[in-house]
Symmetry: C2
Subunit: 188 residues, 2 copies
DNA sequence: CAAATAATGTACCGATCGGTATACTATCGC
DNA sequence: GCGATAGTATACCGATCGGTACATTATTTG
């Protein structure tokens, strides 16, 4: 593994375990077995390192969710695909998702939130557009796309958080139950 | 307002806005218009200040939730009381709940998590006992108290997070809908 | 009033923070 | 082989980190 990849891997592990603010640059370079100028050569700053980490993981997650969110007239089916996209990514990149969950509720004025906010908005928009298409058929959903999106993503992240702490498992029955539950909340 | 109260108020505001790790002791004492030895006189350490903040808010929240969680044979009714206890506290102490939400998903090895973990466990236990009592009547709930508790608290915190960002309002219809939705998830 | 204690400020501590000036080495295109 | 560029280390920067020794001032208690 080259130095750049080593820095990214150790930074992700440390950020996920103790948080962005609590981990110093010195600790990262020591874990990666290199020195500070190497890190600054590749990433420019601690914030640049975080940005690179986020881009490297949010890009494929965004791609995957975008494909899953293509609306075909069947809302529960589409929501199941989206939930599955999230769950799959969380299962295969646990450290990243731990970090991303901490960033989800991190204070808005913190540096880490500034870094993650554009990605959250991007993903939020993908889901919201899906609800907008669905609202063309289900009239009573109109003008509720934003709270629906926020609620759905909140539910998805809640379940992933539970799974990361071994309270549940992100399998197909959970996907079905979660979507079923969400749909029931909408239409009642 | 005396100095001790001023320190607590400004620390809470800053922690909620930018996070525990990102806010330095110097910044807190400057905001409160005092100097460091005064802070250390009252709280001993930055961690002691956080502990005092948490105790001051979690004690009444715990009391309120405990009363609400007294099970009387009607599970939806009890869950509505519990959700209302949480929502009421979040509405009247927004800064605290912002901080508490960030701490909820904060990495387990961070100092802030160590401070909040005992309170989270205490509240978790109150809800879990309520589910245990309910399971004496609803046999199919037995041995699922832990995931139910985690899911219910996750849902409550999700809705509070949405409300703090103006995605929804923590009113009675939302309480009814949330509990209804949760019950539907259990019994289907 | 006197002694004790609580509350506060001045000035400082070593350690760590994120970041960099400079130089050396390795690699690559010509 | 040579110049350019990428990659890396040594050694350092000022600022801030959490925390404190010590003196002073209020306040309480006998």
């Amino acid at each position: 593994m080259d130095n750049r990849a080593a820095i990214l891997a150790h930074a992700l592990r440390l950020f996920a375990a103790r948080g962005y603010d609590a981990v110093g640059v010195q600790e990262i370079v020591e874990a990666a077995g290199i020195t500070k100028p190497t890190l600054y050569h590749y990433f420019g700053s601690k914030r640049g390192l975080l940005d690179t980490l986020l881009e490297g993981h949010f890009t494929p997650l965004h791609q995957s969710v975008k494909q899953a969110a293509a609306y075909n007239g069947d809302l529960p089916f589409t929501l199941e695909k989206v939930a599955r996209a999230y769950f799959d990514y969380a299962k295969t990149h646990r450290a990243f998702y731990r970090m991303q969950l901490a960033l989800w509720y991190t204070p808005q004025q913190s540096e880490a939130y500034q870094a993650v906010a554009p990605w959250n908005e991007k993903l939020h928009q993908v889901i919201e557009e899906m609800f907008t298409h669905a609202a063309e058929q289900h009239g009573n959903m109109r003008n509720r796309q934003r709270p629906y999106t926020a609620t759905f993503l909140g539910m998805v992240n809640t379940y992933i958080g539970l799974a990361l702490n071994d309270y549940t498992e992100l399998d197909d029955p959970l996907i079905y139950q979660a979507v079923h539950q969400f749909m029931h909340g909408i239409f009642s």
